[in-house]
């Protein structure tokens, strides 16, 4: 049995306490350890993605206990792509945190960062619903610490809201898990997939309630309207590198919906038929609309980006709510794009803050490094709003194409296209107010000039933008891969048999009888 699959969880879990214990007072050593850890994570997760690329489902049984009773970690195409995305994103965000000095403004940034990565990686890799809950809690408790990193009243207040909202979400998650366990007697996802099909058609009340509760929990994580209220304040007030890392956290919710509602409660399952399709698509369309209107209404650049995240999550959820192979393939492509674009925009927002001192959408005199920041903002905004030629445009086309044959196609097309227009106006207004009009204002000779952001900060943001460009150039290959991923998701027999039929230590036939 290969132990590689568990490494993305174990490596940060060991590194984080090591950073706290061994390098507590040495920011330089912390940085070296943290960056080394993340680079190693990229190597490991690339290996896993390579291994899963041909459709192999790799199973790891913790303590060698067989599946329905033991805890399993499963690496298929979808989860390996998500862990690779997390690792790549975390490298650039970490470089930015180091380049901008954010990691020095409070204690234990790097340790919390590693714990956060551990939670995210675990949530993507686990094959067990209760373990998903535990990893959600790991990533949340690390995110609470990161969210209030460097302190400040506004940030602490936003932190209280964020923590309380997520505590309620966790409670709801436990209620859902209890209901599922009461109905089926298992929490292993592959085992559940088999057991829910055996439920009697007359006794589906419990399992239907459980499946709705579960989608509510994941919708909270994915910030689907009307469960998005935690997101704008917390993402806007969080330190910029943390907000950029949080760009993957909303995707954890989207991933969980894809995983659970293709494997455990697939759309053709009679027990829960029509439950999520009926509600999820309208909610997703409303999130898309509200997010983009929020972009137009925002008075500060950080709120603007936070609403753009809600809008892009709406777009992802529209594609997921179609629950077709085309839709899921488009959603997965868009997840890659929107994670990178949102992270780049949060970091660019911080570049603006570093050189201007505030984020109000008002015109101020030109500042150091404005030309480069404006250029990066221009590229990232084009990507985020989905204008050609960047990946947002490709992703949106794929989603429109997937929605073309569905009953709500007119509504979907109308809302996606008009929301895009609104977001283009919102970003264009923000960009021209902050960057372009700056030339028309006389600089105040009394004012203390802010120093330009460091080269490493620019390199990190440039790296994210370069990833977006790569995602555009190789759109064909990436989309072909996400299509095979969707095929694997809609034919879960291989996943289920790998998880359930692999023998563990007590199920192995022994030669001698005890």
């Amino acid at each position: 049995m290969s132990h590689w699959v568990i490494l993305p969880v174990v490596l940060p879990a060991i590194l984080a306490p090591f950073i706290v214990l061994a390098a507590r007072y040495h920011i330089g050593i912390q940085r070296v350890l943290s960056v080394t850890g993340v680079v190693a994570l990229i190597a490991i997760t690339s290996g896993l993605a390579w291994q899963a690329a041909d459709g192999t489902v790799t199973l790891y049984q913790l303590g060698d206990w067989a599946a329905p009773f033991g805890i399993v970690v499963v690496a298929d195409r979808l989860s390996t792509m998500m862990v690779l995305l997390t690792a790549v994103l975390s490298l650039f965000v970490l470089l930015y945190a180091i380049g901008s000095g954010w990691d020095e403004r409070g204690r234990h940034f790097h340790a919390l960062y590693q714990f956060q990565l551990m939670g995210i990686m675990g949530a993507f890799l686990t094959g067990d619903l209760f373990n998903l809950f535990v990893f959600f809690e790991v990533l949340l408790i690390a995110s609470y610490g990161l969210m209030i990193h460097a302190g400040g009243n506004a940030r602490l207040r936003a932190g209280v809201q964020y923590v309380l909202f997520n505590l309620l979400g966790s409670t709801l998650f436990l209620f859902a898990l209890g209901a599922i366990y009461a109905e089926t007697g298992t929490l292993n996802m592959a085992d559940l997939a088999q057991r829910v099909t055996l439920i009697d058609a007359d006794a589906t009340v419990g399992i239907r309630i459980a499946s709705v509760l579960l989608i509510l929990v994941f919708a909270i994580k994915a910030a689907v309207v009307p469960l998005h209220f935690w997101l704008p304040s917390s993402y806007a007030e969080a330190p910029a590198p943390v907000a950029a890392l949080f760009a993957i956290m909303t995707k954890v919710g989207a991933y969980a919906i894809i995983r659970v509602y293709t494997l455990v409660f697939p759309p053709d399952l009679t027990v829960t038929e029509g439950l999520h399709g009926l509600w999820l698509l309208p909610a997703a369309l409303i999130s898309l609309a509200i997010g983009m209107v929020g972009v137009l209404a925002a008075k500060k650049l950080d709120r603007l980006v936070a609403f753009a995240v809600i809008g892009s999550m709406g777009m992802v959820m529209v594609a997921i709510a179609l629950f077709s192979q085309l839709g899921i393939a488009a959603a997965l492509y868009y997840i890659l794009h929107s994670t990178l674009a949102a992270a780049a925009l949060f970091l660019i927002t911080d570049l603006v803050r570093a050189s201007r001192g505030h984020l109000e959408l008002t015109t101020t005199p030109p500042v150091a490094g404005a030309a480069l920041t404006a250029g990066l903002f221009f590229v990232a905004a084009i990507a985020m709003t989905g204008l050609p030629p960047l990946s947002g445009f490709v992703g949106k086309l794929l989603i429109l194409d997937a929605a073309f044959t569905t009953p709500l196609a007119v509504w979907t097309w109308a809302i996606i296209l008009s929301a895009s227009l609104v977001s283009v106006v919102g970003f264009a207004r923000a960009g021209s107010t902050v960057f372009w009009k700056a030339q028309s204002v006389e600089p105040d000779p009394e004012a203390e000039p802010h120093p330009a952001p460091s080269a490493l900060s620019y390199a990190a943001v440039g790296g994210l933008v370069a990833m977006l460009i790569l995602l555009t150039v190789f759109a064909g290959q990436v989309h072909r891969y996400t299509t095979t991923m969707a095929e694997q998701l809609f034919a879960p027999d291989d996943y289920i048999s790998t998880v359930l039929d692999t023998p563990g230590k007590l199920s192995k036939p022994t030669t001698e009888d005890h």
């Binding site: 809690e137 408790i141 400040g152 207040r157 409670t171 209890g178």
Partner: protein, 116 residues
Amino acid sequence: MELLVASAIGILTAAGLYLVLRLRTFPVIMGVSLLTYAVNVFLFSSGRLKVGAPPILSDATNYTDPLPQALVLTAIVISFGMTAVVVMIALGSYLGANDDAVNDPKTDMEEPEDLI
């Protein structure tokens, strides 16, 4: 016993939800604690209510499901840790701003004072 457990879960949940909607940190944290108690009892009952049965397969006719107890234990530990974290953050927020309201202040849009 079913009635007792079910009504206990219901009352704890109702009281918790009421307190969560109070918009002051102390009642909200109390409410979240009540909700976690409710969910712990709920998890217990998900393995069916049975009295006087061992949680091991000693004889196959009379046993109780041991898994919910493990789940409850995990849930208790996690909710305990989370409550401690939220108390600390809420205390920091209260001492910093001299205000324990959970919702955003009305002047939220016009206070660029502590941007870091």
